[in-house]
């Protein structure tokens, strides 16, 4: 019982991180129709910014700086690398995104070296709850993700800019002709995605206080998997996919026999979903009209 409870809480917390990153993938895909494979590395950049600003021993300052820096970075990357390719073949954009990903990783390695850096943002300790011992940081992560997701859902649903985002994702051309500044909306999307990635970076550091230039690589791929499982382009889909993947990962780690194969299991789920339901759980069904 205790084991189940702690596994579920850890799973939800990890899933929350995946969901946050997946939201960045899915929103950018929905609106700019591109896969931003550099998204995962924004997490790593966020982590390093926290590491640098933790020199001042003020976690809140470090977190704030990480979010601000990542937002600026995300927007600059979009303007410099992706915007000139608007209208180019999706493959060109994809390759550019992978290039940016390597660029960020290499820059981090040049600046901070290849050895892992240790950084403790804040030690929340742990609590015992119904006999199960859980890290408080996992609960904090879970709580923050829930708040962020609720806020984002409300933002997209009930604000002028959120509505414009949906309009752009439905029909970019028509949205533009209805007076929506599509470039502006894409910028906002990248800004939101990068802010979420910065928070994800923070949560990774809370989970394990070590950072390297490849910190973002695996979470990036996992979150992308989550986004596809949930249905890429769908915001609730990204949340669902992220939570699902997090729970599967934590359960799998607890079962000794299959623990070494955890990653394989997660990606197998992706393959199965792609075979059975290629649009993901909540993705739009495209029925060809004859």
């Amino acid at each position: 019982m205790e084991l189940i409870l702690s596994t579920v809480i850890n799973g939800l917390s990890l899933g929350g991180i995946y969901a946050m990153i997946a939201l960045g993938y899915t929103m950018v895909y929905g609106i700019a129709k591109m896969l931003n494979f550099a998204h995962g590395d924004i997490i790593m950049v966020g982590g390093y910014v926290i590491y640098v600003f933790m020199a001042f021993h003020n976690p809140l300052l470090a977190i704030l700086m990480a979010v601000v820096f990542c937002v600026i970075l995300g927007v600059v990357i979009e303007k410099v690398a992706y915007k000139p390719l608007r209208g180019a073949s999706p493959l060109a954009v994809l390759i550019t995104a992978i290039g940016i990903s390597y660029l960020l990783q290499s820059l981090a390695q040049i600046i901070f070296g290849s050895a892992n850096k240790m950084v403790t943002v804040y030690d929340f300790g742990s609590v015992t709850f119904l006999g199960a011992t859980v890290q408080v940081s996992a609960l904090v992560t879970l709580g923050v993700t829930v708040i962020v997701m609720a806020a984002l859902t409300l933002f997209v649903k009930y604000t002028r800019i959120g509505r414009a985002m949906i309009a752009v994702s439905e029909d970019k051309g028509a949205a533009q002709l209805m007076g929506i500044n599509v470039d502006g909306i894409i910028t906002v999307t990248f800004a939101i995605g990068s802010a979420l990635a910065a928070l994800a970076g923070l949560f990774y550091l809370l989970k394990a206080p070590s950072i390297s230039s490849t910190l973002g690589a695996m979470p990036g791929i996992k979150a992308f998997t989550a986004a596809v499982i949930g249905g890429i382009g769908s915001i609730p889909g990204a949340m669902l996919g992220g939570l699902l993947l997090g729970i599967v990962e934590c359960i799998s780690y607890k079962i000794t026999v299959i623990a070494p194969y955890t990653d394989a299991i997660e990606f197998s789920i992706l393959i199965i979903i792609l075979l059975v339901r290629p649009t993901g759980f909540l993705g739009k069904k495209r029925r060809e009209k004859v």
């Binding site: 933002f155 009930y158 604000t159 002028r160 800019i161 959120g162 509505r163 414009a164 949906i166 309009a167 439905e170 029909d171 051309g173 028509a174 949205a175 533009q176 002709l177 209805m178 007076g179 929506i180 500044n181 599509v182 906002v188 739009k284």
Partner: protein, 256 residues
């Protein structure tokens, strides 16, 4: 005499060697309902795309209310006051009817609130949201769509989708409304209804309307003036009834 709402000056565009539109001069006075007709492939929709900034003209320019707006981006042209509908309906299908109209209101300054207002849910955010919702409802009422406002746009019957597209375009607060084949696919009853609606829009919104249509009876009944295009050039223009009887026009339509 007052400045015409729209004046195009030798407007033209080539795609490679193909001159899709050439030396097109159209002048539309305020409150006119103006028809743009011509056989298939004559360049009618091309003209719409030029006027809304989808294409940049290779020659010529155009003025809206005396201001040269040629070369601006699509959303800027919309803000200046040209809105359109599409030949094949392009609604935001998975959004509710009322939100489609609210997207149309997006660019209007009186409803603007900054991202920070929304983010922190300041009173300004709620005020602007409420006003937009009210305005959208008013527009839907005019088009008899108020009942369906919370349903998805894609679930509306065809005729109503066309109406919703017009409502959405009007929501952007245009001076000139471009309608691309508004009567396409409508039955005679719906067409008659649409004629009334278009006249109503002109009177109620003090609007000027430029429309493309294939239904000659519709055009003859509704339009004050027309321009006939053929192979991208102006074949004839002027008073609707006279122009439709013009021998060149008859030949272009019937052939021979």
């Amino acid at each position: 005499m007052a400045e015409p709402i729209l004046r195009t000056q030798s407007l033209g565009i080539s795609f490679g060697g193909l001159k899709a539109a050439q030396d097109v001069n159209i002048t539309i006075e305020k409150n006119q309902i103006y028809g743009l007709i011509g056989p298939n492939g004559a360049g009618k929709t091309t003209i719409f795309n030029l006027l809304t900034g989808v294409y940049k003209p290779t020659t010529g320019t155009f003025f809206l209310d005396g201001e040269e707006i040629c070369g601006l981006s699509q959303e800027k042209i919309n803000h200046k006051g040209i809105a359109r509908t599409f030949q094949n309906i392009r609604l935001f299908n998975n959004m509710s009817v009322i939100r489609n109209v609210m997207v149309g209101l997006h660019g209007q300054s009186e409803y603007k609130c900054s991202i920070w207002d929304s983010f922190f849910r300041l009173p300004r955010h709620f005020k602007s949201e409420r006003e937009m919702r009210e305005r959208a409802k008013e527009l839907l009422r005019i088009f008899d769509l108020e009942e369906e406002r919370n349903g998805l746009a894609c679930n509306l019957p065809y005729g109503k989708q066309r109406k919703l597209e017009i409502a959405r375009a009007l929501a952007t607060g245009p001076k000139l409304l471009l309608l691309d084949e508004p009567a396409a696919g409508m039955n005679p009853h719906e067409t008659e209804d649409l004629q009334k609606t278009i006249r109503f829009i002109r009177d109620e919104f003090d609007m000027t309307i430029l429309l493309i249509e294939h239904d000659m009876k519709f055009v003859a009944d509704l339009c004050d003036k027309i321009t006939v295009l053929n192979f991208g050039t102006v074949l004839a223009e002027g008073d609707t009834k006279e122009t439709l009887r013009h021998p060149e026009v008859v030949r272009a339509y019937i052939g021979g």
